[in-house]
């Protein structure tokens, strides 16, 4: 069989050039939107405040609301 080197070369070049248009599955999976963990679940570090229970949304909300009032001088100076 006679090998057509010109056609073979063109095919090889096209394969190299078109490789840039593909997206490996691991990259496609990485680009998918990930769910975020709610803040009331707590943080994995040593900077957490002590007056609420991680995982308990009601206690987190109560603690944050209380902390919010620390920005209010009218309630702080009373």
């Amino acid at each position: 069989m006679k090998v057509n080197f010109k056609t073979l070369g063109l095919c090889f070049t096209a394969a190299i050039l078109l490789a840039a248009c593909s997206e490996p599955p691991e990259i496609a999976a990485k680009a998918a939107k990930r769910p975020d963990v709610a803040p009331y679940m707590g943080a994995n570090n040593g900077f957490m405040t002590k007056n609420w229970t991680p995982g308990n949304q009601a206690s987190w909300t109560e603690s944050i609301d209380k902390r919010n009032q620390s920005q209010n001088e009218y309630s702080r100076v009373k």
């Binding site: 975020d36 707590g42 943080a43 900077f47 957490m48 944050i64 919010n68 009032q69 920005q71």
Partner: protein
């Protein structure tokens, strides 16, 4: 559920830039990126010089989310607008759409190439594990998950910048405005603030321009 918002009281802001410094330091924001900045108008005109601290306002109907071609934005249950840096392609559409100039980019290359977008996260990190090193390196501190509020607001020396649940902070601001009005020394309900920024009963939403009057619109 709380809906987190910021509000800056222009009658109190003294342009100290403490909020800017706190944000940069706590989140280790790189040189050239400012998640928060202080804007001053009427510079030098006595009595009319006003400053306001601006960052991402975590809009309820965020234009950055609407224009993002890769859909990297999301809104948390607390109303905070966040984005996933692993998806962001740094195209810059969000910075054109944002009326507050919140999205920031680090210029990296000789031909204007940009980094991935960076913006205020209301100190609530990103999609990485709460409080993890990976989250800190990409998005900064996650103070909400630590039971705290954004540092810029919490350390503001004059309490001009307040942040947190919108119902609570609007109550704090309303109380101030009422006190000012009662004392009669400062502008009361007409002062720039919550009603100006978010609308009120005496300020109905503007009527949208009909498409027929916009050149080129369909």
């Amino acid at each position: 559920m709380a809906r987190m918002k910021f509000i800056c009281d222009t009658e109190r802001c003294i342009e100290c830039n403490g909020c800017v410094t706190a944000c940069k330091n706590d989140n280790e924001v790189p040189w050239g990126v400012n998640r928060r900045r202080v804007v001053t108008v009427n510079d030098g005109i006595i009595g009319q010089e006003k400053s306001v601290s601006v960052a991402c306002m975590h809009c309820s109907d965020a234009p950055c989310m609407a224009v993002c071609p890769v859909d990297c934005f999301y809104r948390t249950d607390e109303g905070v607008v966040l984005h996933d840096k692993d998806i962001c392609i740094g195209c810059g559409y969000c910075s054109f759409a944002c009326p507050f100039g919140a999205p920031q980019f680090l210029s990296k290359g000789a031909f204007g190439s940009r980094s991935k977008m960076d913006k205020c996260t209301f100190c609530s990190g990103g999609p990485e594990e709460n409080g993890s090193v990976a989250e800190f390196e990409k998005y900064g501190r996650n103070r909400l998950a630590e039971g705290k509020l954004p540092l810029c607001a919490e350390m503001c020396s004059t309490k001009a910048l307040i942040g947190g649940d919108s119902d609570i902070i609007s109550g704090i601001f309303n109380n101030r405005v009422a006190t000012r009005e009662k004392n009669g020394h400062y502008a009361g309900s007409k002062a720039f603030g919550w009603t100006t920024a978010y609308g009120g009963p005496d300020a109905p939403a503007p009527t949208p321009t009909p498409a027929a009057k916009i050149p080129g619109a369909q």
